[in-house]
């Protein structure tokens, strides 16, 4: 097929006026127009005319409308096929029509659906993107898309490639088989890892087998548990039956009753034995009491005899003690008399000593009286001197006076400095200032009014105006005088003297006060009282012995008294001891007498004591015999008593056995009830049946699993084998395409070849430098390879008698200047066999393309 003309009306921007593109050459055609001209509209309209039935209204058709409610889109194509030249007229959406007219005869070849079929036969497809057009046409913005033969796009090419039609048929059928095998495989396993696919029958079979294995294991356990439970239940029932066996129960009860009877009898006998034991113990107690009574009687008689002996001894000792006491009392009385005499002597010595001490005191008092009288005299002198000093007067405070005097002197110095000075340079000796003679060389300050005389008759009165220094001097002087007046002095020295005198008086006053304080601290009356007291003391007689002698006598008398008192005291202790000894012996005597009397009262006359002792000894013998008899009876009875502990243990054992049997029976009944319930539960579950069923299901599931596994492996083997075969064949039958492509590649890239995939899409670009996957190439190279491949396909189709135009809508957008020139050459090269229609907005660039320029014109304008 070759396109000769396109005419549009009511198609988007072309509207009523429409557009006509005519005069397409068999080779290269170029429609170069600016953006917004409507190149894509031309492309879309061409596709609409060829691939969309006129009765359809998909969005691709609706998009052709100029405006809503505008005219119905009309497309007219003129084309040349091997059968001749034809025109296709189509109108869409409203007043729809399709018509094919043979231009050589003007005959309408087909209309309506027949027209669509006619078109489909020519194009080889009825859907955009399919058929050769889908393979060869490049719409705007799709220049990078590589051609591919998927979904039948390459059918027309493939049908031309093989040496025989059969080859092409096999290719499609082979792809179909491979697709089915792949589909079957991927329905079972994943495409990449070949693992069972989730949700697939294979996965379900594996999952089912796995689940059933688990279920079988659980059911086996349940069946085992059920069987064990039944066995346990049987054992439990057997045990219960043994326990509940009447004969055994009766035997057990009888044995218990007999044991209990034996135990009762033994207990009765043990009670009788207790009475015997009490009797034996009582007899033994009687014997012990008799023995004790005999022993007590003997002891008592011995004690009585001892008391009698003690009484005699006590009487003897009492008599001796009485003598000793009398001797002691006499010695004491003598000592007391000695002591009284010594005391008299001591009193006298003490009195003499006191007298001597009083005489000594009087002498000392007289000395003190004399000294005191001197002190009183001195004190009175001091008091008189104090009175003579008058009242105390503090020395005047001269600090103010001193300060004012200082200020006066300072003012005077400043006034002196400020005064005019009289300097005598030469004098005849008569010169006087204020009457003071002045010598040559004298220098004097002049006061405010100074009188200078020089000899007789010469008198100068010098007056100087009063200055500030003089005023200050007057003020200082006045203050100074006022201070002098305040202290009552005429000048500073006088004031200073008065102050010194005042301080001397105050010092004297202090000294006198201190002396007075020392001599009469408590006043003169106290001194007078002391004088009076001393005077009294001093009045003692003078004829007294000396104190030393008196003290010696006194000490001697005191020592004698002390010794006498010591002796008296010792004798008093001896007398007291004698009295206490006599009292004690008297007590012993009374006690011995009491005991003896008591023994006699209890034991009777001593002559009857042996007889009483013999009688008690006889009672003891009788009691011992009775106790021995009772003990013998007890031993005999005890020896004959059965072992009660053994009997009690036997009874306890048998009772426990009965209780145990009862408890065991209860437990077994509970176990039986529990196991019966559990068994009922197991039966309800039907585990054994379910196990057999699950085992059967597992067998089937595992068979399925194995079958699917085998099928998967077979499918993999099939797809791999078939894929290999397809690759080999593809490489073989794509050789013609490769041959067509070689010169085109050479014109653009100099050298290189392309490896095409089974879908005819370029896969690898083989160059001298390297083999590169097409998808990794730059955008420009990919675009150029895509176009060259299409041109190669188109050349092959043309050579096989199935020409089809290549339409490129703004295809070369990524090529640089050099490469685009080479591509232009390649397009021209291809155009020698193939009709190429290039649509471009790049007008200047495409000026170099060559080929035939297609110039659009209004449809109704001049042709």
């Amino acid at each position: 097929m070759r396109l000769d003309a396109i005419r549009l009306r009511h198609v988007r921007g072309f509207g009523e006026e429409g557009v006509a593109l005519e005069g397409f050459a068999p080779g290269l055609n170029i429609l170069s127009a600016p953006n917004e001209f409507g190149k894509s509209t031309l492309f879309d309209a061409l596709r609409a005319a060829l691939f969309y039935g006129h009765t359809r209204a998909p969005k691709e058709i609706k998009s052709l409308e100029p405006d809503p409610g505008g005219g119905a889109p009309e497309v007219t194509l003129e084309l040349t096929t091997q059968e001749g030249r034809f025109r296709i007229d189509k109108r869409f959406l409203r007043k729809r029509m399709a018509k094919v007219t043979d231009l050589s005869s003007g005959r309408v070849v087909a209309e309506a659906d027949d027209a669509e079929r006619w078109i489909r036969n020519v194009i080889g497809a009825d859907t955009p993107g399919e058929g050769p057009a889908g393979l060869l046409w490049v719409e705007q913005g799709a220049s990078l898309r590589q051609p591919d033969a998927a979904e039948g796009r390459g059918e027309a090419v493939l049908s031309l490639l093989g040496r025989e039609v059969q080859d092409a048929t096999d290719g499609e059928r082979s792809r179909h088989v491979l697709a089915r095998a792949t589909e079957a495989l991927e329905a079972l396993v994943t495409a990449q890892t070949r693992k069972p696919k989730a949700g697939s029958p294979y996965a379900r079979a594996i999952e089912a087998a796995e689940a059933l294995r688990g279920e079988v294991a659980e059911l086996k356990a349940a069946v085992h548990a059920s069987r064990s439970l039944r066995e346990d239940l049987a054992r439990t029932e057997d045990a219960l039956r043994r326990i509940e066996d009447e004969e055994r129960s009766r035997d057990r009860a009888e044995r218990l009753a007999a044991a209990e009877a034996r135990l009762g009898e033994a207990r009765d006998r043990r009670a009788g034995l207790a009475a015997l034991r009490i009797e034996a113990e009582r007899s033994a107690a009687f014997a012990r009491e008799a023995e004790e009574a005999l022993s007590a009687l003997r002891d008592e008689q011995a004690a009585a005899r001892e008391a009698r002996r003690t009484l005699g001894e006590a009487a003897e000792r009492a008599e001796a003690a009485g003598g000793k006491r009398k001797e002691a009392v006499a010695a004491l009385d003598a000592a007391r008399a000695d002591s009284a005499a010594a005391a008299g002597r001591a009193r006298k010595a003490e009195e003499a000593l006191a007298e001597a001490r009083r005489a000594q005191q009087a002498a000392r008092a007289r000395e003190g009286l004399e000294r005191l009288r001197r002190d009183i005299s001195a004190a009175r002198e001091a008091r008189d001197a104090l009175r003579a000093l008058g009242p105390p007067a503090p020395p005047p405070d001269l600090s103010e006076l001193e300060e004012r005097h200082t200020r006066f002197l300072q003012a005077e110095a400043r006034a002196e400095a400020a005064r005019a000075r009289l300097i005598v340079e030469a004098t005849d000796g008569s010169l006087r200032l204020g009457g003071e003679p002045l010598e040559a060389g004298a220098e004097r300050p002049l006061s405010a009014q100074s009188v200078i005389t020089a000899g007789a008759g010469i008198r100068f009165r010098v007056e100087t105006p009063a200055g500030a220094a003089e005023a200050a001097l007057d003020a200082a002087r006045a203050a100074y005088c006022e201070a002098l007046h305040a202290v009552g002095a005429d000048d500073l020295d006088g004031a200073r003297r008065s102050a010194a005198e005042a301080r001397a008086r105050e010092a004297e006053r202090g000294r006198l006060k201190e002396s007075l304080e020392r001599l009469a601290p408590e006043g003169f009356e106290a001194l007078e009282d002391e004088v009076e007291a001393l005077r009294t003391l001093a009045e003692a007689a003078d004829e007294a012995p000396s104190v030393e002698e008196a003290e010696a006598d006194h000490e001697q008398a005191s020592r004698a008294l002390h010794e006498a008192a010591g002796r008296t005291e010792a004798l008093r202790d001896a007398a007291d001891a004698a009295r206490e000894a006599q009292a004690r012996i008297d007590g012993d005597l009374r006690v011995a007498e009491a005991r003896w009397q008591d023994a006699l009262s209890r034991l009777g006359p001593e002559a009857a004591w042996p007889e009483a002792l013999a009688a008690q000894d006889a009672r003891l013998g009788a009691a011992r015999e009775a106790a021995a008899a009772a003990a013998g009876t007890l031993r005999e009875q005890a020896a004959a008593l059965p072992d009660l502990a053994v009997l009690e243990a036997e009874v306890a054992r048998l009772r426990q056995a009965v209780a145990n049997a009862r408890d065991e029976a209860d437990r077994l009944r509970q176990d039986r009830a529990r196991m019966t319930t559990e068994l009922r539960h197991f039966r309800a579950e039907g585990a054994e049946e379910r196990l057999a069923e699950a085992e059967g299901q597992l067998e089937a599931a595992e068979a399925d699993e194995a079958r699917y596994g085998r099928q998967v492996r077979a499918l993999i083997l099939l797809t791999e084998t078939l894929g290999r075969a397809q690759t080999e064949r593809r490489d073989r039958f794509l050789a013609p395409v490769t041959a067509e492509l070689a010169p085109l590649l050479g014109s653009v890239f100099g050298a290189g070849s392309l490896v095409l995939g089974s879908d005819l899409a370029p896969e690898t670009f083989l160059r001298a430098s390297a083999d590169e996957p097409v998808e990794r190439l730059s955008g420009g190279t990919r675009e150029q390879l895509a176009i060259l491949t299409r041109l190669a396909f188109a050349r092959l189709m043309a050579k096989k008698g199935r020409p089809m135009p290549v339409i490129l809508d703004d295809a070369l957008v990524f090529a640089d200047d050099d490469r685009i020139a080479r591509m232009f050459t390649a397009l021209n090269l291809a155009a020698s066999d193939v009709q190429v229609i290039a649509l471009s907005c790049r007008q200047r660039v495409f000026d170099d393309l060559g080929g035939t320029r297609i110039r659009p014109r209004p449809l109704n304008g001049p042709g």
């Binding site: 039944r230 379910r690 069923e693």
Partner: protein, 400 residues
């Protein structure tokens, strides 16, 4: 073709019907006729099959009771002896236990004598205790004790019940010690393989040869072997009345037994099966139509919906014939209750004509040749060769 569940009338046609006298006396002796069956294995789940088929197979085993009752009536037998494995397991569900009882109770004119076998031993608290604990229909007798029981005047059954899964001895040994009234017919009922055909020669519970003679039995009714089989002139296996597996014996029968004092028992197998289980090998040759050969395997005595078939296809077949056969089997499988085929040992002959369908020289042709070569490669792993055969089958299917 026999109707499912019905007694094969042709085989029963010879029976003296109606038999109103169960005991025929002749020259002072009597004749006792009864039905001998075994291995009902009620409740067998058939889990490896689809749930629907499994349910049908389970139901068929219960329905067999009615068929057996009909056979008994037809034979004039008032007693049916089931020689063990009445149920498939020790602890069937209540439903599995009850439904067959109801079916037996329905045949009120027949007394059912049920013997515990190795599948359903009379273990304590097992199904037999449950039966006794419930209300057992009057015409059902459980032979749970190894004590002689008078089945009819002058006829004594000597049961040898299994009381556990492994009794550990030949239970028929006791027969010689079991006394019966003078002149009474002694009919032993036992379960277990005989030493003769037991694969395990030292099987402790196997029944020794000559058990009937040693036990002084007039007849020994045996169970366990699922096909009917004569052991000796007085000892028979009845087999299961409804097949349950693919054995190469003769399942699906009961035995009509006539016993008379001093006489060799007269035993007649009666077909009772509803389902036919068959296991066949189809040996193919290059010549001949494999589809026709396959069709000839299964006669028309059973509708295919009642046939469970297992077919192993071996030999060699041309590629196109192989595809045709597999296609045919695929389509035919829907007519069967169950059909499984094994053709891994079926070799494929590749001839030029056989590959025509793959094209003259296309990739499909190349693939078929490669796969066939692999399947024939003696050096290749057998499983790999098997996969190559299956891959070739799949190729043929996809390319068809």
């Amino acid at each position: 073709m026999a109707a499912a569940g019905a007694v094969d009338k042709r085989r029963l046609a010879w029976a003296p019907t109606p038999v109103t006298l169960l005991f025929r006396y002749s020259s002072g002796s009597m004749t006792f006729r009864f039905i001998h069956t075994a291995d009902w294995q009620l409740g067998k789940p058939f889990g490896r099959f689809s749930p629907e088929l499994a349910a049908q197979l389970r139901a068929a085993r219960i329905d067999a009771i009615g068929t057996i009752a009909a056979a008994a009536r037809a034979q004039g037998a008032a007693h049916v002896v089931v020689a063990g494995d009445v149920w498939d397991c020790e602890t069937p569900s209540d439903e599995t236990l009850a439904k067959p009882l109801d079916a037996m109770a329905q045949a009120a004119d027949v007394t059912w004598w049920l013997l515990p076998g190795n599948h359903d031993p009379a273990a304590r608290h097992g199904l037999w205790d449950r039966l006794r604990a419930g209300t057992l229909p009057a015409n059902i007798r459980c032979l749970c004790s190894a004590e002689p029981v008078e089945a009819a005047p002058g006829v004594v059954f000597l049961p040898a019940p299994w009381e556990s899964k492994n009794p550990g001895r030949d239970l028929t040994e006791d027969y010689a010690r079991k006394a019966t009234p003078e002149g009474a017919l002694r009919i032993g009922i036992a379960h277990g393989g005989t030493v003769e055909f037991s694969q395990d020669a030292v099987q402790s519970s196997a029944i020794a040869k000559g058990a009937a003679a040693r036990g002084g039995l007039d007849y020994l009714a045996l169970g366990d072997w699922h096909g009917h089989k004569r052991v000796d002139e007085r000892s028979w296996y009845a087999g299961t009345p409804e097949p349950d597996r693919f054995p190469q014996n003769a399942p699906g029968y009961v035995l009509s037994v006539e016993v008379a004092p001093g006489a060799v028992p007269v035993v007649e197998p009666l077909r009772t099966a509803r389902y036919c289980w068959s296991a066949d090998r189809l040996e193919l040759l290059a010549e001949g139509d494999p589809v026709t050969r396959f069709e000839a395997l299964h006669d028309q005595s059973f509708e295919r919906r009642y046939r469970l078939a297992k077919v192993e296809v071996t030999g060699a077949v041309r590629l196109e014939d192989r595809a045709a056969l597999l296609d045919h089997i695929g389509r035919e499988s829907h007519r069967y209750a169950h059909l499984e085929t094994e053709h891994s040992r079926l070799d494929t002959l590749i001839e030029a004509a056989g590959l025509e369908a793959m094209g003259a020289e296309g990739s499909l042709r190349q693939t078929a040749e490669d796969l066939h070569a692999l399947s024939e490669d003696a050096a290749a792993d057998p499983s790999r060769r098997d996969e190559a055969k299956l891959a070739l089958d799949l190729l043929m299917t996809f390319a068809a």
